[in-house]
């Protein structure tokens, strides 16, 4: 749900349901890194409701576009994390199995 104005698309507050600090803090991190963003932050109106308000103000680009781009950046970061992690685990297992073979008779 986006709360903004039709005249000025560059600032809006996005209210996401069923979300909490997990996604909101990560999105805030990627939003902050985007050079088009002048202000971004998130708040949780009440801890019992699972609802997060993310505020984005940009230098002219529509706020929903910037948010979408940040989500995509976050997805790319996650995919890279996953592939690096899998590779590291495979390397560790190979290294350990080699050590086991070397230690054995």
């Amino acid at each position: 749900m986006e709360h903004g104005s039709y005249q000025d698309q560059s600032q809006a507050t996005f209210s996401l349901t069923d979300e909490d600090h997990t996604l909101a803090n990560s999105l805030r991190f990627t939003l902050n890194q985007d050079p088009r963003v002048t202000f971004c932050g998130y708040s949780i109106p009440h801890p019992s409701d699972a609802r997060v308000n993310i505020r984005v103000q940009t230098t002219g680009d529509p706020a929903s576009e910037v948010l979408k781009d940040s989500c995509q950046d976050l997805m790319l970061i996650c995919q890279h994390v996953r592939s690096t992690f899998d590779q590291a685990v495979v390397e560790f297992k190979n290294k350990n199995s080699l050590d086991a073979i070397n230690i054995g008779p």
């Binding site: 803090n25 890194q33 985007d34 929903s64 976050l74 994390v81 350990n96």
Partner: protein, 387 residues
Amino acid sequence: MEEEKTPKISVWNLPDVPKGKLPAHLELQRTRVICTPDAATNTENIRYSGAYASMGVDNSLRLGHFRDNFRVEVVRLTEDDMEFDMIGIDASLANAFRRILLAELPTMAIEKVLIANNTSVIQDEVLAHRLGLIPLKVDPRMFEYMSENDVPNEKNTIVFKLHSCCERGSSRIKVLSNELQWLPRGSELTVSTEKPAVDPTSRPRTYTSFNCSQDSLPEFSNNPIGPKHDDIIIAKLGPGQEIELEAHAVKGMGKTHAKWSPVATSWYRMLPEVVLLQEIEGEIAEELVKKCPVKVFDIEDIGKGRKRATVARPRSCTLCRECIRPDGKEKEKEQRIYWDKYVALRRVKDHFIFTIESTGALPPEMLFTEAVKILEDKCERVITELS
């Protein structure tokens, strides 16, 4: 009063602040948390893309830069727990992974307990609570969630039976978790109805409706489903007491109840960095080495009988701050040393030492991969909602 003669340099001849790179003190502020004797300072991450714009340094996220600098190094990997380092990632992402590991990865746990007979001293609800907390060794990805209106079938429920009794005349017995028998064909307790069955040869209705035996599925045919540990004490029975019950396990998330959390716990800490600000020799070096409870410092001989303190194991530092606490009343006032002139304790802001202890449903490396996938799914949901 004499003033020191400082050489006169014209303003125009002062050396330039290097553009494109941060000066050392700002770089320290950006990448390290400084731990003083009272508290940790400088903990906020300076992530705004224009933060150092006046210095000509671009603080924005460059995916290529992230890809080049991000590393994962596995330190320890066993069947149940793992410890690995993530270098080059931000605290918000590390925390997101930790939160997902604790609360949003699904597992199977016992939810409904149908008690036919319980004459033990453990109350029904306490027994049911204990059964719910037993970790089950089953991959939750092969099952679906069950909602209120669903019928329990072989795709969303696992059924266990527990029947234990203590003979009269024998001593007390312990009911262990290996007595939980898996029933691959579903529930055996029949639902009592007022009207007798119309067709006497049909199977009576039970509490679950399994269409096929779970045994026939290829994943379960060779490894039966059961608790991860065989020696968990569920209850203790005295002579003459009996427990007969059936337990149904369903899929859930740690958000609803902690029994569905797949990790015993998972945590991270930032890499500690211990720096000696001055050369520490002789007796002061020995004192410093004795102070540290986890032996971070070591003595090194530099010839001619002189000794010097070095930092040997900074990774094991627990940040107890004993090495920077100023000396107190145990010494005379003139002999007290202010240790924070000698030692600086810092933490590296983007190097996380992650530890994951799994309860047994999935191996820890698979848990982390699933957690990252869940974060990606959340982002995708936001994107689809926006478009």
